[in-house]
């Protein structure tokens, strides 16, 4: 297991759950559909859900140039981007040892504004491909007005760490003698059937991209 890249990135609670390997970090960032972005204004922290996409050593976020979060981060405020996957509930014999199985990544740092140009198009493509792999080539690409209204920000993965819990509950020794069922109930995100927009053109069927979309499987594909 790799070392923590910085003191403030080091996982302090339950350090046995920590993982600083880039492959583990990348896989979690790529599978998570949304991130939670933290920033502070006048000392008050805010945490907002946002779409993200990783390309190599960079995780991109984006928003309207009019957004307060985006303006705050563009001005150089420190940020934290967290992605969490919930894999199951952990049922122990005692209330105290109940837990969740999960995988999470925390990325610390400042966000660098991406200027219009090649990198911006790479990022915009990555956002679309992140939520629906294969979709970019099927839709209208962003035009100049849309690019201008969008601010893309980049965070490097220099200060990133992962935390993972898997497996059965860990009970107190005495409690293993209790006649209480204990174990894990795994869970996963599953897609329902696509619902066509009522304003769809006649005769336009969902493509394979749409029909085979899977909130977990497609993440794995995207991470290759």
């Amino acid at each position: 297991m790799a070392q923590a890249p910085s003191q403030r990135t080091r996982v302090r609670r339950a350090p046995s759950r920590a993982d600083y390997d880039r492959a583990a970090i990348d896989a979690i960032l790529d599978e998570g559909l949304v991130a939670h972005l933290g920033f502070a204004i006048d000392g008050q922290p805010y945490v907002i859900p946002t779409l993200h996409a990783r390309v190599g050593d960079t995780v991109y976020i984006h928003g309207s140039t009019a957004s307060r979060a985006i303006r705050t981060l563009t001005a150089g405020a420190p940020a934290c981007l967290t992605v969490t996957l919930t894999d199951g509930v952990v049922l122990a014999r005692s209330a105290f040892h109940h837990s969740m199985n999960y995988r999470s990544v925390v990325v610390l740092g400042e966000a660098r504004p991406v200027s219009a140009g090649e990198e911006m198009m790479v990022a915009l493509r990555a956002f679309t491909e992140h939520i629906v792999p294969g979709r970019w080539d099927e839709v209208r690409a962003p035009n100049r007005k849309e690019v201008k209204a969008t601010r893309v920000l980049a965070m490097t993965l220099d200060e990133a760490s992962a935390k993972v819990r898997t497996g059965p509950p860990v009970d107190d020794d005495d409690d293993y003698a209790l006649p209480v069922w204990a174990g894990e109930i795994p869970m996963r995100l599953q897609a329902a059937a696509p619902v066509a927009d009522r304003r769809s053109m006649d005769g336009v069927a969902p493509t394979d991209t749409v029909r085979t979309w899977d909130p977990q499987r497609s993440r794995r594909r995207a991470s290759v």
Copy 2:
């Protein structure tokens, strides 16, 4: 739709998606299995996934008394607790209008430490019942040592707001003429079969609580 309870709670981006009704806020807090908790240390924001549970007008969080996050919040640092449910991906005819359908709640404020006593037991019970409704009465209750090692913090819902997106994509007028499939792919969390701990006692079967656990249905039950 209710008014924003404070200026800093007012939803600024896409205000048509905002909802300040307590029933809407409560339902999202109750359905979400995990929250993302934001706090700052030396100006650096941190966002960590954590279990939460709502009881009336209060949302509780907890952690080890040794945890840095818990110590920071106990000292009165301002916090933000965010719960997000991802309901589907929204496929537009243009890359730009792709989106997610989601429900999220943001709670701002300081966290009040809960002292050992009746309120603490109410909160501990709520954590267990939040992730697995019906479980509290089937397991060993917390003992004095466990209560002492746990710090429970309370945030009021005075400064809470919800943000919700539902429905089909909203495309540019011209784009409705494109032969691109558009619509929504809903998704939901689903439970797999329970996996018994290998150290389970012989003859202890999963109860109804375990067998019927559903990461979404049970949330709804819990919110009644």
